[in-house]
Structure formats: C-alpha cells, structure tokens
Amino acid sequence: MTATEAYSRPNAAPEDRYYTYAYLDEQTKRMIRRAILKALAIPGYQVPFGSREMPVPYGWGTGGIQLTAAIIGPEDVYKCIDQGADDTTNAVSIRRFFATVADVATTEDTGEATIIQSRHRIPEQPLADGQIMVFQVPQPEPLRGLEPRETETRAMHAYGEYGLQYVSLYENISAYGRIAATAGYPVMIDERYLMSPSPIPKFDNPKMHMNPAILLFGAGREKRIYAVPPFTRVRSLDFEDYPFETQSWDEVCALCGANDSYLDEVVLDDQGQHMFVCSDSHYCADRRAKGHAGPMAGHALAHIETEIAAEEA
C-alpha cells in the first residue's frame, strides 16, 4: 500500500487498509470506468468488460459491486436493497462491505442516497437528478432464453433483428391470452437496443422511461455493463392489441395502507392466511412514520422490523 492510498482512507481501521479504497485496484477501476462511459454513449448496448472475482460469489451482486466500487467516493451516501428491502441479508452484507472499504455514509432513505444499489427492484419514491441507480444483473442478455449462443445474440443486436423476441411474445399470447413475462420484461432503449431491465417486476418498468437518474447495470459473471442515461426513452415491448400492462393488487399494504406500491405476500400460517406488505421497506416505514396505517397496522411484523433496526443502530 502506498502512502497516497492510505491517505485516501483516513477513516479506515488499520486492518482494513490492507485493501485499496473501494477494494478494486486502480487499473481495474479505470477499465470499468471506461466501460461505463461507453455504455452511456451507446444506451442499452452491453459492453463486455474484464469482470474480476469479487469477495462475494458470482450471482450475488458481483456486477453491481464492481460498478459501485468504480464510481463511489467518500462524499457519497450509499443505499443497498434486495427485493426492495434494506434489511435483507445480502443487502446488509453488501452495504456493510462498502461502509468498510469505501468509508461512505449509508442510508435507507431513498431520497438521501446518491448511489442506490439494487437487486430486483426500483424504489417507489421517484429517483432524482444526480442519483445513480446500480442494478445487479444475473443475465444481461434479454434474448438468452430464446437463443443460448452469444455469437448469435450479438449478431441480432448488431443488426437490430429482434423478430425472435416478438415471435416469443406472440406465442405467449396464443398460449395464455396475454404476454407472460412478469419480471425481467424486455425493453427497447431509445428505439435501438433491446435490453433486459434485470429481474425487476414489470411493475417497475415504467419508472425507467425518461427518468432523471443514471441507470447502470452490471453483470459480473456474464461480464457485461450497460446503461440508460437520464431522460432516455424506455419502451416495454408489446403489441397494439395487447398493450403492456403492469401488476396491480386488490389488496393494500397491510401495514401502511399503500395502494400504489409493489406488494409482497407474507404467508401467516399453513391455512391459507396471508397478508400483503410493501416490498419497498423504506417507502412503507416512511408512510407509517407519517401516520398512514393499513388494515393490520399493529401486526407484530412492524414491531420486529423496528426492534431489529434499533438493535443494529
């Protein structure tokens, strides 16, 4: 470790200074940074990059972690969610990693965060200008389920030949009377590149269209980075007679009463009892703090969350 690198981490505990700031070596960061800029210059195109082994397994957010490590600085405020929740184990683990290696402040508050890393969700609170959203991507290739060969799918993107995707959606309609994709629903970026939005529910797709934040997608195992700049057209594929539609629920959030958020189903017993709660834990907690209450507002679940939060603080 050079003096400069140590100086750049004044708050790190001595044992943590063994690794450089934000874990990655500077050459790797430069490689990733170059890939990010090209990804923004060619919205929706998957830039191959020399993904490194990270200290967490492939499939557990290595792409997102490498993106965050390449962009993060000590002035950032970092939020990390999995399934929309700040307190799921993998989100906690990744958040702790960056708090340690990048000396950043962390938050659960969507509005306060400068970098939001996520697996499978876009927060309910609209993203703002200046925020960066980092998505963890298991399979960057939207066509992979239809064509396993990279050599073939790369050619399809090169020549904008997306007939295969439309045929597949059409076959859905013949089989189910509607488009079956429910998560990872393919989108067209600026009417040129077909892109996988990562396995977010299609409920979140409309949030990407002309949104003011920078959206970065990282697939570590598949070694691809792609991006959607702010204020970019993002269209979910559909047909004139079968327009794109998002999920909706008959129920509201049992804890905060929200009727506009993505809901998770919580099984209460083995007799078919269940309740629905917001997947976005911060959105739900914020609403409850502001006095909103759902039909099961006093449920033990709300208290357990608060208890844990208090203990961890």
Binding site: T4, E5, Y7, S8, T20, Y21, A22, E26, Q27, K29, R30, M31, R33, R34, A35, I36, L37, K38, A39, L40, A41, I42, P43, Y45, V47, P48, A70, I71, I72, G73, P74, G130, I132, R154, A155, H157, A158, Y159, D190, R192, Y193, M210, P212, I214, A227, V228, P229, P230, F231, T232, R233
Partner: protein, 205 residues
Amino acid sequence: MNAPLNLAELRPGFFEPVRDSQSVFRALLTATAQPGTQVELGKALTPPVGLNQTAAAVLLTLADQDTLVWLEPSLRGGAVESWLRFHTSCPLTERAEEAAFAVVSDTALAPQPLSAFNQGDAKYPDLATTVLVMVQNLETGGKLVLEGPGIETVAEIAPQGVPDFFWSERAELVAHFQFGIDVMLCAEATLVSIPRTTRIQIKGE
C-alpha cells in the same frame, strides 16, 4: 518503439491519484450521461504546455497500459508525451484507427478527418475512439443546440474555435449509429461530453 522518457521538468500529475481520479470520473459520468452539461474538473492540475487541464485530467483518469492513445502530431515527442507516459504508462500510437483515446486541439482539426478514428464494430461499437478536443471555451463560439438521450428537452453550448466542418463530419459519422465517435470538448477547467447519440443543430453566432 517508444523513445526514452525525458524526466527533466516533468510536471506533476494528480496530487492524490485515488481520490482525484474518482472525482474526475464522477464529473465525466455526469457529463456523458447528460450531454451538454458543463462539468468542472482538473482545476488543480498544472499540465505541460500543449495540454489543457481537463484533457490532462481525463487522460490521468482513464488512460493506462491497456489504452492506445493518439496525440496530434504537434504534441508528439515532447513534454506532453513524456508527461503522459510517465503518469499513465499508456502506449502511444500514430494510427488513428486503433486509438482508444485521441487528443487534438481545435486548431489542429483540419488535417485529421474524424473518419480516420475507430468507428467501432457492428458487434462491438464500444471499440470506437473517444476524441478529446481541446477548445478555448464553451461560451463564446457558435451556438449549438443538443438533443438526444440524457437531455430532457434541449441543451445549448457555444464552444469557441471548433470549425463547422467538424460538426458536419461528426454528423455524417454518427448518422449510422451504433457506429460513431464519442467527443469530449475540453476547455480550461470545464468539459462537455458529446456521445454519438447526441443530435446537434448549428445555430451560429
């Protein structure tokens, strides 16, 4: 082969390479995500004569042993080359078509057609050259109106010293998106990024 480095009178690079390159990159990220937005960077640098602060900061941040850099002929063989090789270890090339980064000043644009740079490959458009164009400022030249991804409605810049033929050449190249070059206009301490997706209208003085 690269000539031996002349280390006499070598100007310094970043004071704190890890921190400085991170903050310069974040400015470049904002600039590239929002074409037309002016970002400030490289203010503390004292680059060698021939290179301005922003171009110097971009190179210190992004160039290394894995990137071939093309310098306009007037910058070769002297202080700029020594400085660049010492601080970034980047290999230099005289073949524009293989450059990852190219550095030109507005006055030297004419002899180098943009089509000579790497336009990317249909399957790998990311291989296209990023061209750093050093300009005098971004306010007093002919007005340009920008549209495209990253721009909510329109953005305006007025770079001083970039000839109109540069923009028409660029327009021809990027008409065949996904091919094209990505440009960074580097004024002293401020920079604007113009990726290939940005559509430009020349409004004049």
